[in-house]
Amino acid sequence: MTHPFSATTDLPVILQPTYRGPDALGYSRWLASMPVWTLPAMAVLVLLWPTIVQAQTVYSTEKIMGIMVKWLPLLLTKGFAMNVVISFFTMLVGTIAGLLLGIGRVSDNRYIRRLSWLVVQLFRNSPWLVLLFIVMLTLPFEIRIAGTYFAVPDWMKAVFGLSLPIMANIAEIVRGAIQSVPSAQWEAAESLAFTRRQILWQIILPQCFKRMIPPWMNWYAIMTMATPLVSLLGVTELVTLSRQAMEAEGNNPSLLVPFYGFALIIFFAYCYPIARLTMRLEKKFAVKG
């Protein structure tokens, strides 16, 4: 019989916990673990809801259906499309800024390192909503470039607000990935007279690029789920439009479940494939190292 434990160090005192915490792939792992029929099941539930509660409502099932069908194109093209646009731009800005910030975290300049650390801590630990409010109010509604004024639309400001926490979290992913490359790689490259910048961009980052993709996609899904927050600041998107639509239809309580239910389903339908893909990629990259 062989025992994988040595007597003094690796005590068999605790097994590897399965929970990875919100900073790893916890969210995607969980979302991807749901069976494929979850979405149709949710859709059926929402569709049947008016029938289930019909006894208590003044609206008939047909009327609710009619209202939903009427608003659906607008909710999709002007509503959810906006959430997707905001999420794309947020990810773009957040990734670029986060990459630079993450490199700053491993800079050989002590002050850059400390400053990057501070920025990461500030934006990781403040509520997204507070950041959104601050950015929405401080950014001007128009900017002047070369004599002409460009209007800054509301959703653009929302992008900046959301990209701050994303930037801080991407920076942590970048730092973790860079530090996971064995230091022997640095030494080998240094001995070949590469500069520090060359080593980072040509040797280290290409190696850990794959490793960063799954957590990066995980954050994309988390952030997309957070885009309805911007409705609190009056930016037009799915939840804002749903509310306006309900108001236009007389604010009947029996519309709440169909409208919010639709919002839940569409977010789920969008994030679920991403989560599945994230887990596929994670598995694939884990094997190849």
Binding site: L11, G21, N125, T138, L232, P253
Partner: protein, 254 residues
Amino acid sequence: MIETVQDFFRTLAETHPKWNFIFFHDPSQWERVISGFYVTLQLSVVCVILSVVIGIIGAWAQGSPSRIIRWVVQGYIQFFRNTPPLIQLLFFYFALGQFTPTVTGPDGWTEQPIISNIGWAIISLSFFAGAFNVEIFRSGIEAVPNSTLEAAESLGFTRAQTYANVTFPLALRVSLPALNNNLINLVKTTTQAIAIAVPELLYEMVSIWNDYASAQNAAMTVLFFTYIALVGILAFGMNRWEARLHVPGFGKTS
């Protein structure tokens, strides 16, 4: 002393019109900030405690022999982890709020719902964070090796004694880092209660800068750093607790 501080900020507001820390020299605005801070604190503390209780009960129920109980817990976790907390809040307050009975208010003639908007915020946020806590505690309990529990059993411990003296203290140590993250996230999420007009810190600050445009910069600065401080205190406390519970040779060696 207070006079001096008030005078200082009054002068600052006169010399720098964009930096009017109105709540530092106007007592009535100060009271709004304090009441908002108090509501945020109340929300955070109550939700942290409730969500931990939900987590412990849920983790215990997940080990239940009854399949139905396990399914219910699983369904609960699935629902709350996958939907944005904002939509949960709106759903709880608007959709469920209309079904709760009303009582006659203290003035004797207005009808008030039994559960106020703060009540719904507490319920919704506790269930939101609780769903994560269930998973955290469950994985902590699973990390305790069977053989250690067997040793306790062989010493004559009852199941309850084993749970209280061995399983729980060990599971807690495994769970703490993840719990730490989740509770910090919970405190940050309390800001979303603004969506159902809970008068917490963000809500009060926003209304102050809506009332006094000159206070905008000042209010935002104070708001930002208050939350950083709140989260910082929680993180510091949790880290201290983690360090105090640390035993050599247990968990990570680094």
